[in-house]
Every structure is written in structure tokens, then in C-alpha cells.
């Protein structure tokens, strides 16, 4: 044990034995975060007392963010990072949108101050974000029925909603797609909201298991929260069709469930902000009450600034006011008030007609590049793979991610043999793929699919 063996005057030496009770390690299995400790060896340290955090084990690496860390450590020149969903240019460089640079320069010139935002965030941002989602003239906005507060990107917004569910719907369950973004379960776990899954991905078709999805939503206890990806499902890239969305809305209403949308890719999926909000707007048309978490990480490239929002559509303005006040009460002991920088950028971009148009064009460009890369990958796969396997799912999927259908072992092969970094569920981020690398990737996928089980 690497204890610090410094000598410090008259400090008393304490055997670790004494600290046993303080740690309350108790029986194994009672706390998954602590490991049982053997006290057979008494070790002297010269600190006042040994650490009370003695039993803390190393947390597992995050499955998604851990991929980038592993990629950085790889020295092979062919390496490809298809892990985290951050957009890259054809040159595989990070991309700061021109409108963002413009907005920041404006902010710099204006000399904006750095005062605390209110707990609910920047008012101009909250207004802009709700309007982007529902459309400016939408009844839910006109009637002031949406409680919107700025959140720490999508994660933070989901967490606020989860905490609200735990507080006001004790025992209610969230039903999550199988599979879903890796952090969804962590969020509901830490918020102590129970969850279960609905079928979503069909490995046989590498498409949507629609029957399974509907059946599982129907079977969930009445009044469950149904977590839906508004567009560009993460990790599969598989979205319901407009007709399927109608049926999903039907069954949710029938069972009196509460829809809970995660919208992390508005504008990024199809290139059109309005088109990508269609599912959310359909539900709003139905007059339903529901949650929507938003993120500007991808569509405005503001990843690191942590800018998003949680919206709760209520049946009355009064309910919206009360819900908003309780969301604030959850946020205050978490971080007091949200960071101002990203919020100002969004408000500036959306609030200026020229910048707004430029943004839309840049979004179309980013979404366009991904569509082009999908096509190129598909073409490479089809020309190189003589097995007759149907690779068209690559074209049918949408957004940043593609579910390749590769299993864990095959995904490991992708990394270990081909230095292609992806998540173990078979997800690749097309945003990290260049046209130049499509052939290499196709080789890797074909090899992993056919030669590894």
C-alpha cells in the first residue's frame, strides 16, 4: 500500500483497525460501492487518521466517454474514433459553427456582464428554445402552458425531469427503449426513479420492432412515463415513421401514459428544425401533457457549454407556473443557476434573422455531410461484401449514429484489430467518419461481421 511515510513531529501513529467502525463497511452486498476489507494487516500511517474512504473502489470507465479516452491513448495511425457523438468535418476536425463565432464576437463587443442568471436560466433563451420546439405561434406557447427552464444540456434537463417525477409521482415508472443512450439509466437510477424497457431494436431486421414496442407500452402500468427519442434515435438511428408515431400516440393516450421526449438532435437529423420536431408537435396537437428535454450540444456544436432545456407541457398556465417553480426548487440545490455563456449564444443566434438563417444552413450542411457519408459507406459495403447481406439499414437509419448490428465481440474486434473505436453495443458515430475512411471502415465491418462471432 502506498501510504505516505513522512515523519511529522509528534503525530500519533494509528493502526487502520481503529477506523473500521467509522467506515461502516458491514456485510458485503449492502452497498455495491464499497468493497469488504480485510484487516489482517495493521499498517501504520502518519496522517491523523487513515482515510474514511478506504473501501472505495475504482468506478468503471464510462462506456461512451471512456471510448474517447482509449482512442487518445492508441498510437496506431489508422485509428478511427467512431465513439462519442460529436460532429467532425470531412477532415475529422471538430467544428465550431460560424454563427457561434459570430455570436461570441457580438457578445464580446457588447461587453455583457457575468451576473448570475435566475434559477430558471436566461429568459431570452427559454423563450427561443420553446419556440424552436413547438413553433412560435403554437397554442401551447400562446396559452403559456409550457414550463421551460434552462438545463445543463440534455443530461441536466433529463435529470431535472427525473427528480420532478420522483418527487410528484412516487412509484411511477419510466419505460425506456431497448437499447437507449447509455446515460439514461444512470440518470433515472441516481434520481431513484424505477424504470423498465420497451422493445425497440430488432436485430433481425436491424430496424424497429414496432409490434414489440406497442405491446410493451400497452403493458406498462397506467400512468407510466414513456421515454421517446424525438428524432435520430440514439444509439440505433432508427426512427418510427410518421404513421407509426400516430399509433404510438394512440396507445400512449389509451393507457394514460405521460410521454417524455428526449430531443438531442433537432435539425441535425433531417437538416430541418421543423421536420425533426414533427413527433413532438404531433403530441402537442393531441392536447397531451408531456415532457421534452432539449440539447444544443450537437445542432449548435455547443457541446462543452452545456446548454439545453426541460419543457413541461401542461393543460393550464397555472399548472405550468407551479411546475416551473418546483423545477427551480430542484435546480437550486444542484447548481443554483445555470451557466450563461451557451444560453446567450443560442439566444443571439435565434434572435437575429440573419444568424438564424445561417444556422439553418450550417445545420443542413452537417446533416448533409452525414447523409453523404452514409451513402458512401453503404456503397463501399455493397461493393466489397459478396455475401449478399442487406446493408440498406445504413441508409434507412438517420442522424449521427448507426447501429451496425455488430455484437460485443465483433465490436471488440473492430477496436482490437482495426483500431476503430466504437461503443460495445455496435454503435458507430457517422459524425466521426470521413468519405476518405469509408472503405477502410467497410473492410473492418465486413471482417468483424463475417469472421468473428
Amino acid at each position: 500500500m502506498a501510504s505516505s511515510m513522512l515523519s511529522l513531529g509528534s503525530t500519533s501513529l494509528l493502526p487502520r483497525e481503529i477506523n473500521k467502525d467509522k467506515l461502516k463497511l458491514g456485510t458485503s452486498g449492502s452497498n455495491p460501492f464499497l468493497k469488504a476489507k480485510s484487516f489482517s494487516r495493521v499498517t501504520m500511517t502518519v496522517a491523523v487518521k487513515p482515510s474514511r474512504f478506504e473501501g472505495i473502489t475504482m468506478a468503471p470507465p464510462d462506456p461512451i466517454l471512456g471510448v474517447s479516452e482509449a482512442f487518445k491513448a492508441d498510437t496506431n495511425e489508422m485509428k478511427l474514433n467512431l465513439g462519442v457523438g460529436a460532429y467532425r468535418t470531412e477532415e475529422l476536425q471538430p467544428y465550431v459553427l460560424n454563427v457561434v463565432k459570430k455570436a461570441e464576437n457580438l457578445m464580446l463587443e457588447r461587453g455583457d456582464n457575468k451576473e448570475y442568471l435566475p434559477i430558471e436560466g436566461l429568459a431570452a433563451f427559454n423563450k427561443a428554445t420553446a419556440e424552436l420546439l413547438f413553433g412560435a405561434g403554437h397554442p401551447v406557447i400562446k396559452e403559456q402552458r409550457v414550463a421551460t427552464i434552462q438545463g445543463l444540456s440534455g443530461t441536466g434537463s433529463l435529470r431535472l425531469a427525473a427528480a420532478l417525477i420522483e418527487r410528484y409521482f412516487p412509484g411511477a415508472k419510466v419505460v425506456i427503449s431497448s437499447p437507449t443512450w447509455g446515460n439514461h439509466k444512470n440518470i433515472f437510477n441516481d434520481a431513484k426513479v424505477p424504470w423498465s424497457e420497451y422493445r425497440y431494436y430488432d436485430p433481425k431486421t436491424i430496424g424497429l420492432d414496432f409490434e414489440g414496442m406497442i405491446a410493451d407500452i400497452k403493458e406498462a402500468p397506467e400512468g407510466s412515463f414513456i421515454l421517446l427519442h424525438g428524432c435520430a434515435h440514439n444509439p440505433t438511428g432508427i426512427d418510427p415513421t410518421p404513421e407509426q408515431w400516430v399509433k404510438i400516440a394512440d396507445v400512449i393516450q389509451e393507457k394514460n401514459h405521460i410521454p417524455f421526449f428526449d430531443v438531442a438532435y433537432q435539425g441535425f437529423a433531417s437538416g430541418s428544425l421543423d421536420e425533426d420536431a414533427a413527433s413532438v408537435r404531433l403530441f402537442a396537437e393531441r392536447g397531451m401533457e408531456f415532457f421534452v428535454a432539449q440539447s444544443y450540444s450537437k445542432n449548435l456544436g455547443l457541446y462543452a457549454e452545456r446548454i439545453g432545456a426541460i419543457n413541461v407541457v401542461c393543460s393550464s398556465a397555472d399548472a405550468a407556473t407551479r411546475v416551473k417553480s418546483q423545477l427551480k426548487r430542484i435546480a437550486r440545490p444542484m447548481y443554483s443557476n445555470p451557466p450563461v455563456h451557451g444560453a446567450r449564444i443560442v439566444a443571439n443566434v435565434v434572435g437575429d434573422a440573419t444568424m438564424f438563417s445561417e444556422w439553418k444552413a450550417e445545420m443542413e450542411m452537417m446533416a448533409g455531410r452525414i447523409k453523404t457519408v452514409r451513402q458512401e459507406l453503404y456503397d463501399s459495403l455493397v461493393s466489397k461484401d459478396k455475401s449478399g447481406k442487406d446493408w440498406s439499414f445504413i441508409l434507412k437509419q438517420i442522424g449521427m449514429f448507426s447501429f451496425t448490428g455488430l455484437n460485443k465481440t465483433q465490436s471488440d474486434n473492430m477496436t482490437n484489430k482495426w483500431h476503430v473505436y466504437m461503443t460495445k453495443d455496435g454503435r458507430i458515430s457517422l459524425a466521426g467518419l470521413s468519405l476518405a475512411k469509408c472503405e477502410y471502415l467497410a473492410d473492418a465491418i465486413i471482417d468483424s461481421y463475417h469472421n468473428v462471432s
Partner: protein, 430 residues
Amino acid sequence: MALAMMIRNAASKRGMTPISGDFGGLRSMSSWWKSVEPAPKDPILGVTEAFLADPSPEKVNVGVGAYRDDNGKPVVLECVREAEKRLAGSTFMEYLPMGGSAKMVDLTLKLAYGDNSEFIKDKRIAAVQTLSGTGACRLFADFQKRFSPGSQIYIPVPTWSNHHNIWKDAQVPQKTYHYYHPETKGLDFSALMDDVKNAPEGSFFLLHACAHNPTGVDPTEEQWREISQLFKAKKHFAFFDMAYQGFASGDPARDAKSIRIFLEDGHHIGISQSYAKNMGLYGQRVGCLSVLCEDPKQAVAVKSQLQQLARPMYSNPPLHGAQLVSTILEDPELKSLWLKEVKVMADRIIGMRTTLRESLEKLGSPLSWEHVTKQIGMFCYSGLTPEQVDRLTSEYHIYMTRNGRISMAGVTTGNVGYLANAIHEVTKSS
């Protein structure tokens, strides 16, 4: 089906009527949210909201602890403006790691632990970037809950009101310890020591490193040494909330004295640091949580667990503020400018304390206002009662929290006379 029954029963108890059957005309649908009460206004941030809504031209805001210059204007430090210019056009906006900016964290640890701290060199500190001080306290509270389940937190009376919310939402039970002595408007040292002595061995204590919020009352260096010795004897864990380093005396090293004493005495402490006030980065939400561990291996493990807690809360912390801090602290010129500016802010506040006290004495107040200059940092615990505070607000449009806490940062040469007069008016018959 049991759950559905439960929800239906709960729903009908709360007067909620879930819709059933056809879903054609839904305007008449009752809300899921009937049972949601309006939350009470936050006692601190609610003050500013009320102030902003007041149309009176005489209004004075001595509520929230945000620094104002002598014209009552928010200040963006010069060193910050310069850092922003240098950052403009930056091409990096990718996600920070879950633990935040390593560079910012390293520079921040040096401020708290000392530039040449052996603990930093020995890699014994588990540290992550956080959403300012609030985020650091909350992350620690969640960490405490998870890894010392069954432990409680001892919180001073009084304290920043959000401390209670933080440990409550983290589900860590709270106890209090004596701190403020209303009669002397100073520290109730003997009662504090009694509480420390009587707490069960190995208890967790929340300490304000300097410039106690809301009282402005700090232990002397000698008292800190005694507290540290008693903590040693009782094997207590000290968690320091340091939100005002540099802001109290004007000298960051001096303001970290309490922490340095504990470190010298061999305690393994935790620290929450914030750049909201001392760098004026309020809305950027930049802070740091650190936990001093036994050895590097444990530091790595603890850091990984802190990240594990952060991931489902916000994934990774915001970049911009962290970049500002790094830019400033790693450039000797900018850092030197920052230190000068911090001293200017601290000195202005010290000056206003003197002026306020002298003004009250000149008005012939029957009360002693010695505490105004004895207390330190942004806040003055005036001793005003809630009723007197209400009068100040309704009659004089002066806004402060109802515990009588005056944010000295909001006092200017322009309003100190008006403020003194108003305080005198509501207290002269005491």
C-alpha cells in the same frame, strides 16, 4: 396492475381524474399536476426578483452577494475581459472530460492547498471541476451519502440557506452546531467547541473557510488551531466551503489560513471552491471539489466515483468559465492583475463597512455597530429583526434577506447615507 391501482388511488386522493376512453376533445383534460404546489420563493434569489420588480428610484439592493462597484454596477474584471479577448475565435468546444478541465483544476488546487503543496505533488488530491460552489457542495453531499451512508452533516447556525437544501436533496441527515453569538454579534466559540466535542467521533462538519456567509464572523487564527486540534482528537471530517478566497482580506493566501492549518495538522479534508465572487464569474458557474486522500491510488478511485456522480447530473461541466480561469491563472501578468483587482474589491467593501458604521454612530444610534467593521467579507449580519427588515423594504425600498444579512458589496458611497438613515429609523427605538 398493482401500480396502476396505486396511481389511480393516489390520483383520486389528490383529486386528479385521469382521462380514459376516447381522446378526441382534450381541452377539458385535467392535469397530472394538480398536486404540485407553487414552490416558496428562494429566500436569497427571491430578494433580487422583488428588487427588480420595484419601480422606486430610491431602491437599494443589498440582498444577493454579487459584487457591485461604487456606482452600484456589476463588474467584469479587467483580467477576465482580457482573457475573453484571447479566447475569442477559439476552435475548441468539445466536451470536457467528466472531471472537467484538468488545467483549471490544477491551478485551482494550488490556490487552496498552496503553490508548492506536497499533496498536489504527491497526487493525493481527488479533484473535479464543478458547477461553482453549489455544484461542489452537492457533489460532495452525494458522495458522502453514497460512501458514508449513515453519516450526518453538521452545519453551522446560521449558514447560507442553500446548504440545507443541498444536503437535504442529497438525503444526508443534518445536525447543527453553534456558531453565531447574537449578543456579541460575534463567534460563540465555547458553544461551538462544545458541539464539536459532543458530536459522535468521526462526524462530518461543514466549515466556512473564510468570510462566513451570512454572518461575516470568522474564527481567529488561534481559534482555528484549537478547532483543528479538537477535530483531531474527535477524528472528525472537515469539509470546507471556500467561496470567498481573496475576497475576505484581499489576500488569497491569508484567506486560506484555516485550510492550511488543518492540512498542517494532518487532516484529510474536502474543499469546495468557487470563482463566482473572487473572479466575478458568477453566471459562468466555475468551481472545484477536492478531497484529500491517503495516497494516489485512493485519489484516483475517489475521483472516478465523483465523476460517476456527475455523469447522470450533467455529464461534464461547462467549458467557458474554466477556460477564463485557466487563461488568467497561468499567465503571470494576468494573474497579478487579478490579485490586484481582488484586493480592490475587498478594500472597497472594507471601506464601506467603516463608512456605514461611522454614519450610524453619527446619527446617534443607541445600538453598537462595532460588528459592522469586525465582521469580514461580503456580508454583514446586522442584527436587524425580520420585522425591521420588512420595514426597510416596504418603507425605504431597501432589499435584503430577512435574516438581517446586508450584502456590503451592494453598499456604495452613493447609498450608504440613505441606508444608514433607514437602518437608524427602524432601530432607534430598540
